[in-house]
Symmetry: C2
Subunit: 213 residues, 2 copies
DNA sequence: GACTGTGAAGCCATTCACAGCT
DNA sequence: AGCTGTGAATGGCTTCACAGTC
């Protein structure tokens, strides 16, 4: 393997480039330069080229990149040349929103089951999915070959849910609870914290004020 | 000012330390060391100390940090010693979830109005808030002194909404639409992309497989 | 002339290691 | 003895600048 370590920031941007390319493709654009991609997603042209260089040579000097081809490559690299079945735990408002979130489907993700431990919620329908009790998780994972789980439960329940997921063989977790999960190293965990970014904004607004900028 | 530039990663972690400290405080813990914080949130002890050092000396050598004090300091630094009124545009499922998200309230944020341009949604209630037409935005911003807006609309509408927010005086935007907003530099923008983190997971699962790890 | 691919340089964040305090 | 605060060292990401190609 030539590519031993890819910065996570590069993967993040690749995901963003990929969606930008989808838009270009929808608009009938066939060729794009690193400068145009850079402009479109707010990074430097060199950054775009360097990011892509981790994975190969996709462009033509003097010309740029073929949109359709580059889109296909980026999807392939991100592992999105296949459908990914997901399970979700937490049938609250956030869980509901995630279940119906179009952005997941657009990218090849599909939530195949929703779980909750609240008897009031079990049996209810979210779209075409029935909320299931936690005990059903093993068979769902087995049946659909699920590898990734999403946690959308209150903070105090998140650690237990995560451990249950790991016990049942999940390899990766997307955690929406604002808490740090403590799990075996081999489990891939990423957190989406809805208020951290908001706090960066309030910090910056306050910081600017303090500097009279 | 001693602190001229604070890395954004530091601010992010500060937000996380802050919530960890809230938990310790709730549990009656009075003193904590950098090592314990590090353990609790998954970073190195040196990192914790370095992060805090950007803002002052909050600890006692040989002892550690006073939980209540450090909590207060972190909140102050993040600008959370005041209530922040927010407006939200997009009364879809995600907007609904954000409106009712407890994590915002816990941190001093409160959504004071929800807007949409869909006549089907205007007038509906989300909790105690009525969905308002976009034209009402100026007066709401004025009345509540709103400085931050949240965008939870489909990608194709996001840029227009953002520009409208800026035109009406908002200084910062939290964007949930999976698209890069193009706005004046002085506007603080942060994106929460629900599927980027998921794609990092699929990338990593694929990457590991490719390396037979 | 235009644009990619890339080694080298520059810059920034993290880690180290220890002096300083309790 | 224990833990913080911090300059120095390290490591890694980004930018620069240019050779290579069309």
């Amino acid at each position: 393997m030539k590519t031993l370590r890819v910065p996570e920031a590069t993967v993040t941007r690749l995901s963003i480039y990929s969606r930008f390319l989808e838009r270009l493709d929808r608009n009938g654009v066939t060729t794009v330069s690193s400068g145009e991609i850079a402009e479109g997603v707010g990074v430097s042209p060199a950054q775009v080229r360097k990011d892509l260089a981790y994975f190969g040579e996709f462009g033509t000097r003097g010309v740029g990149y073929n949109v359709k081809d580059l889109l296909r490559y980026t999807l392939k690299i991100l592992g999105l040349d296949q459908k990914w079945p997901l399970i979700l735990v937490g049938a609250g408002n956030l869980g509901f929103a995630l279940c119906t979130y179009k952005g997941f489907n657009d990218r090849g993700f599909s939530i195949v089951a929703v779980f909750d431990n609240d008897l009031m919620k079990i049996g209810k329908m979210i779209g075409h999915l029935e909320v299931l009790p936690m005990e059903k998780m093993p068979e769902v994972i087995e049946k659909h070959n699920v590898r990734i789980g999403i946690i959308a439960v209150p903070p105090r329940a998140a650690q237990d849910v995560a451990e249950y997921m790991v016990k049942n063989g999940l390899e990766a977790i997307l955690n929406f609870a604002p808490i740090t999960l403590n799990l075996p190293e081999k489990i891939e965990v990423r957190n989406v914290d809805l208020s951290v970014k908001l706090e960066i904004l309030t910090f910056n607004l306050g910081f600017k004020a303090a500097q009279n900028l």
